[in-house]
């Protein structure tokens, strides 16, 4: 019988106070339902059920101060699948629930910013081949299911600090990854789990890193916000907004000087386009014609603030004009549209014609980080975006092209679930680093 525990609310919060119960003993509870309101020193937080069933018992009462990890209530789980570590896994059906009303006509797959930009034309029908589509779909499923599981691990305090989920933004990452070649380099943001998976990072190494284990991608020294894998060209996720853009410049400089034909990609959010490093990087890339792509995942919210409160332009892509480079807007929910635009901009960069700014219009289904339930979003907005779910868009297109049926999709979803579950079980059992590791890797010792 799974326990509802006091969640980790981030930062140094050690405990929270129960304000009120939203579900009473005997009531049915669905995964995602708000069952209680909790007060931490930062904010009031809605506690969502991570499993479905019937609420059996309140263990604590309103007004009680409860430490993180302590049991708040018990739910009798009726018929949801079990896993070794978490109290619940995302039901397979949840993916399809996202798209009850899929529009018959999708919006334009890419749109160019108005003149005076030198325009990049999207690839014109150069969609992904079957293998690449399968890879893109499989990795989007892995991202989705891994992120769901990561959230549960965070609530169980098995992942510490904070974590930033990219659920909803999967197509930006896999569409870009499909357009990259071996030798290309990528920098990204603390919301970067999807980039790591899209580039082919091992789920085992990724989850272990988030759990602080020695077998993590960064030996447990980086954590959720610093996913790095030099072997796949992932030069690092960065916890400082905008700092990864200049670093990508350097990878592009190496490619230019050594004439490797490789490119560099910097992912960032629309919020980063208001920080100085963004402007310095675009300017320098343009004056040196560096082979670098600046890919903005505009998910509409910079932390808790809607973009329009902080940014005076409608589209981030128009900022390319200030640096005399192409600015392209693309449907960030469509992996193939992202692929086409990134491929075209990448070809241009590889040919020595310089950088591009690509804006992917996208949406994060979850809040900024785990303490954030995104109360600032207008009612209905999320529902509208759920209709444009990136997994469903590619799934439907593959089904329409006779490349996929429901059984095969269910198999792919199951395979992703199994991969995530294995990674979590493996990472859970893996040892923490010994304390001597603290002083290693500060300097290269030769």
């Amino acid at each position: 019988m799974p326990d509802v525990v006091m969640p980790n609310m981030g930062f140094d919060t050690q405990s929270g106070r129960l304000i009120e119960w939203q579900k009473q003993p005997g009531e049915a509870v669905n995964k995602g339902d708000v069952i209680a309101i909790i007060e931490s020193d930062k904010a009031n937080v809605e506690l969502e059920a991570t499993t479905s069933g019937v609420l059996i018992e309140h263990v604590v009462q309103p007004g009680d101060e409860v430490v993180v990890g302590a049991v708040l209530a018990r739910i009798d789980e009726a018929s949801t699948p079990k896993s070794a570590v978490s109290t619940a896994v995302l039901p397979r059906a949840a993916i399809t629930e996202f798209v009850p009303n899929m529009p018959q006509e999708a919006p334009p797959r890419s749109r160019l910013t108005p003149p005076p930009h030198d325009m990049v034309r999207a690839g014109g029908g150069a969609a992904l081949d079957l293998t690449a589509r399968q890879t893109a779909l499989q990795r989007m499923l892995q991202i989705r299911l891994a992120e769901e599981r990561i959230q549960e691990l965070f609530l169980q305090n098995l992942i510490r600090g904070t974590t930033h989920l990219a659920i909803g933004q999967e197509a930006c990452a896999v569409g870009t990854a499909a357009a990259l070649l071996p030798g290309d380099k990528v920098t990204c943001t603390y919301r970067g789990h999807h980039h790591a998976v899209a580039l082919g990072m091992s789920l085992h190494a990724m989850i272990a890193e988030m759990m602080g284990k020695a077998a993590g991608a960064c030996k447990g020294k980086g954590g959720s916000m610093h996913m790095t894998d030099a072997q796949i060209g992932l030069l690092g996720a960065n916890a400082i907004v905008g700092a990864q853009l200049p670093i990508a410049l350097g990878a592009a400089l190496t490619a230019q000087i050594k004439r490797t034909g490789s490119i560099a990609v910097a992912f960032f959010g629309e919020g980063a386009s208001n920080i100085g490093a963004f402007h310095e990087a675009l300017n320098m890339a343009a004056v040196w014609s560096l082979p670098v792509l600046f890919i903005c995942e505009n998910n509409l919210y910079g932390e808790y603030s809607v973009w329009s409160k902080t940014t005076p332009v409608q589209d981030i892509a128009v900022r390319a004009a200030a640096y005399a480079m192409p600015g392209v807007i693309v449907d960030g929910q469509d992996a193939e549209a992202v692929y086409e635009v990134v491929k075209a901009a990448g070809d241009r960069a590889r040919a020595g014609d310089g950088p591009s700014l690509i804006e992917c219009k996208t949406y994060r289904y979850r809040g900024h980080s785990r303490t954030d339930t995104a109360p600032y979003r207008p009612a209905g907005e999320l529902d509208e975006w759920l209709k444009r779910d990136p997994i469903m868009i590619l799934k439907r297109r593959m089904m329409a092209d006779g490349q996929l049926d429901e059984d095969e999709f269910a198999e792919m979803t199951h395979a992703a679930e199994v991969a995530v579950t294995h990674a979590v079980e493996w990472a859970s059992a893996a040892p923490f680093p010994p304390v001597e590791e603290l002083y290693k890797d500060v300097y290269f010792e030769g």
């Binding site: 200049p246 410049l249 350097g250 400089l253 320098m284 500060v442």
Partner: protein, 325 residues
């Protein structure tokens, strides 16, 4: 043994490393065609070409971030910050990125990056163009911090910094650019992390660097005529710090004065004083004293700037006090 200026030693070290390693590239503001605002790097652009020697926009964050990205992907960049006072402009890249990149990635990268910056007062550049940066930079494990005081050390330590597979900041004192000194023909790279006893003495240890080192030596020469025999140590490397040389000297002299071209609070001299307290307490026969800028800022007006920087008279006075306490 050829004699070079401190300025010429910088250019020669850069040129020699660029000639021996095609991965060494050099960029910064006005460093290429103009040869640097202090005329430190003339001729490099002409000799090595615009691919490897580049003028950047005035974009310190991008300069340092780009250098980091280049360093972890196969180049061995040397990036110039025109004035060390611009370190805070690029501090995110220096403190959060360059210093931590290897560690955060669990050792996946080496960071063979050199940052050069001109620092120091005494030339009427005012409050924002005259500061020394060592104390700011010592708080970021992962970085190495080097401050050469002579043409020989400038040449040997800059070459070592460029060859080093860790990020190194080499701070050049503007007041020393015209200083002449011998640079041995066969010198290539010197070891990082080694202090030097530049004047041996029995009575008191004086620890200093760059312009303050030369003033401390002058003070010591004067005090010798009064019968005070000073041992003067050039720090040379702030990170890593050569504690053994300082402790060895203390064991002999039993007295310590530190001369810093920096404000007192959280200044590097506090680290040396703490070293003396932690590991050299039983050698000491007198209080440790620091000669520095106190809590004052560097002013433009000549008498004010002269007053804020430790000078020979002030250094000598403090040494006399310690000798009689």
């Amino acid at each position: 043994m050829p004699e070079l200026t401190y300025r010429e030693a910088v250019a020669k070290a850069l040129a020699d490393e660029m000639a021996s390693d095609p991965d060494v590239v050099f960029f910064g503001e006005d460093v290429a065609e103009a040869g640097g605002v202090f005329k430190v790097t003339p001729g490099l652009y002409q000799r090595f070409g615009g691919d490897r020697v580049r003028d950047t926009p005035i974009s310190e964050q991008a300069i340092i971030g780009m250098a980091l990205g280049a360093a972890i992907t196969g180049l061995r960049p040397v990036a110039e910050l025109m004035f060390a006072d611009f370190v805070p402009v690029a501090l995110d890249q220096i403190a959060n990125q360059v210093a931590k990149y290897r560690y955060m990635s669990g050792g996946q990268f080496t960071v063979p990056l050199t940052i050069r910056a001109a620092q120091g007062g005494g030339n009427g550049f005012g409050t924002q163009h005259s500061q020394c940066a060592e104390s700011w930079l010592m708080n970021f494990p992962g970085l190495k911090v080097v401050s050469p005081s002579t043409p020989r050390d400038m040449y040997g330590l800059l070459r070592a910094a460029i060859r080093e597979d860790n990020p190194v900041i080499v701070l050049e004192h503007k007041g020393l650019y015209n200083l002449k000194g011998d640079v041995p023909d066969r010198l290539s790279a010197m070891a990082l992390g080694v202090a030097e006893v530049v004047r041996a003495g029995r009575d008191i240890t004086v620890v200093a660097s760059q312009l303050m080192l030369h003033r401390a030596v002058e003070a010591a020469d004067g005090l010798a005529r009064e019968g005070i025999d000073c041992e003067v140590i050039d720090v040379r490397s702030f990170v890593p710090l050569d504690t053994a040389t300082i402790l060895r000297s203390l064991r002999k002299t039993h007295r310590l004065v530190i001369v810093e071209e920096a404000p007192h609070g959280a200044g590097w001299g506090g680290d040396i004083a703490s070293l003396a307290a932690d590991e050299g307490l039983f050698y000491l026969e007198a209080p440790v004293r620091r000669v520095n800028m106190g809590s004052a800022l560097i002013a433009y007006s000549p008498p004010l700037e002269d007053a804020v920087l430790p000078n020979v008279a002030r250094i000598s006075a403090v040494i006399r006090e310690v000798m009689t306490s």
